[in-house]
Symmetry: none
């Protein structure tokens, strides 16, 4: 992790695998891009598959660490938390900085490998549980399955902008897609979701977060 060659290999692997997939990316290209020897992958990671898994985890780490959730206090109101959550998610989806990382994650979702299990366990489940907790505060009487359905609806809206970005861009044009920036999408999804929860009038409670708090 601290070894600079290992770090460069992970970065290169993230880019190459994101661009060409596990099968399409070659160890040779990754090493070349990382300025390392052909044998470096086997030396540091054992084999190509393990490098891939580590690259996926590295990618997810890059995605989440770049845009963390705010540090809520015990008395942060749940609506505020929900607004924060949506904003963090849309930010992750739309900011171009971590394009390769997200691309790699999307590949992993489409065709899960051994990496998926580790990523879900280490990174996704904690996020999911935080969203469930927020929704439980907002709908204390709902059964667990309904909470999941609501969570899926919220997250599904956010993920759309990354997972189907090429399609959306083809539909509305690249310049058209530019208009869907973080701010606009966040406001839309927040309003859409509050309406669905029957809390349309509480929209201001959600959006008062300073954007500076979550922007990196």
């Amino acid at each position: 992790m601290t070894d600079p060659t290992q770090e460069r290999l992970l970065q290169a692997a993230e880019e190459v695998f994101a661009e060409k997939g596990f099968q399409g990316g070659s160890v040779r290209e990754i090493c070349k891009r990382a300025g390392a020897n052909v044998a470096a992958v086997n030396y540091y990671f054992g084999d190509k598959e393990r490098l891939y898994i580590e690259a996926v985890k590295y990618a997810h780490r890059a995605c989440t660490q770049g845009t963390p959730l705010p540090n809520w206090t015990p008395d942060t109101p749940p609506l505020r938390k929900l607004g924060d959550f949506i904003r963090v998610f849309t930010t992750r989806m739309l900011q171009p900085s971590s394009a390769a990382s997200l691309q790699l994650m999307m590949r992993e979702m489409a065709q899960p490998t051994a990496a998926c299990v580790e990523v879900v366990r280490d990174y996704i489940r904690p996020m999911a549980e935080r969203l469930q907790a927020i929704l439980r505060e907002l709908k204390p009487d709902a059964v667990a399955e309904d909470l999941y359905l609501h969570g899926f609806s919220i997250v599904g809206q956010c993920l759309f902008y990354r997972q189907n970005r090429p399609i959306a861009a083809l539909l509305v044009g690249d310049e058209g897609f530019q208009k869907f920036d973080v701010e606009r999408v966040t406001r839309h999804i927040t309003a859409f979701t509050l309406g669905a929860l029957g809390l349309a009038d509480r929209l201001p409670d959600c959006l008062e977060s300073e954007t500076a708090e979550v922007a990196r």
Copy 2:
């Protein structure tokens, strides 16, 4: 197209590419599975990439034809159309029959290739325009971009169940995911969406479609 060998090649390519991706799937395996000669791919399609594109289009055709939209009359109320649309989409996402086709589509979304352009033009854009038309009927004063945002929210909810199925299944368990069947998910997304549109009380107008109408 009418050549039975060509047809078998497309089916085999759909399966293999869905399972292993473009790079992972081999021409040899596809030909073997289709009972054709090793050179058949190059003979019928020119090269592997063109076969892939045709397989993606074939897959999308299979997806849409398997679960078509109902034939609405001019006086079908828009809410009913919206309900139908959601049901058709969730059905496509959740029914296991067309697993390979959808899997291949998901791959293409995650990493668009030349096939993506053709699929969007031939199959996705028409669907998108129908949804835009429905939403325009429901919100005649909204600007085009807001209609898109609403459309993305609706479709994003539906796509979630396919694009992130492995993750969702890991979160709630395989047996837990079974509970999210077409009926339940359809009702949830319809209700969630109507609420977001401020039409929560109109839910019955959406759901009166006989399921037989959309079941294949």
Copy 3:
């Protein structure tokens, strides 16, 4: 078998494997020596191991076909058969024509692989049974195990000249080893064996075979 490329591959494999062993010989070198493509081995034989097995069998065929046993008639006396057998064996061991073939066989004996089973079944067992039959005629009252011990003693004497040729040549010098030609070794082993069988006075009955009959 009839394919000239396949034939050349077998010959090249025999030489290379004889010289460097299974691990030491490379597919690349074999193909190069055979004037074939690098992929030819996998195309014709599947993998390196199968090529090796076929090369060993090819080598044994070359050894045995070059110096076959004479066609005995029902009334050929057993001593004559024994003399023929010894002469054929020493000829195979000492004639330089099939050096590579024998070298490869010796390697296989020292470290048997999957090829050994097939060679024993197809080529060695028939020879062994013929020797057993001859010995049974000469010693009708001996138990089977004693016949094997005698057979091993006879064959062991012959094999020595090939299996330990480098050592013997180092002991007596290369020019000294030259003196142990087929004729002399045959006479010695025949006389030694007849003496061991208590038939020393019958030596002439053994050696009357025309050498032309077994020389190639």
Copy 4:
């Protein structure tokens, strides 16, 4: 030589090279088995080939020291010496204790390397000369070449049981080969050889050695 790491490397090399040959055995595995560093081989022996040579010599030392010739007195009769010699040789060939050592020696015979010269000079030639001396006592009038031929016949019979053990075991079955134990083979080869020397009636003079004398 006295360095314990060097000793462990030699033992490990003997085992690995015996099992997989020079090319098949890897320096890494040898070092691992010896609990030494990857670079230890190059440090102690220069390169892999020199380690191999030392391992072969080490193996031959282990073979001969494990079953030494008895200490004959000047008046030990030659027939007794011959019997001892045969027994020592068959014991070395058939006792399973030194399997790895002998296996490695057999490999070296089949494909002599630089190690062969040294082994012959240091270990084999002395043995050969002792056998020549014995035979010279028994056949004082024979020419040197005939003495060699007789020596080769004797040693060839013994070596057979090791050099062609896999083949013999395939011919008579593994359990069948078990019956050829040291005692039986020794008696057979001794009797066979005495008969060949025209001394069949002197068999008792050969076999009176106490077995304890040659057992390790």
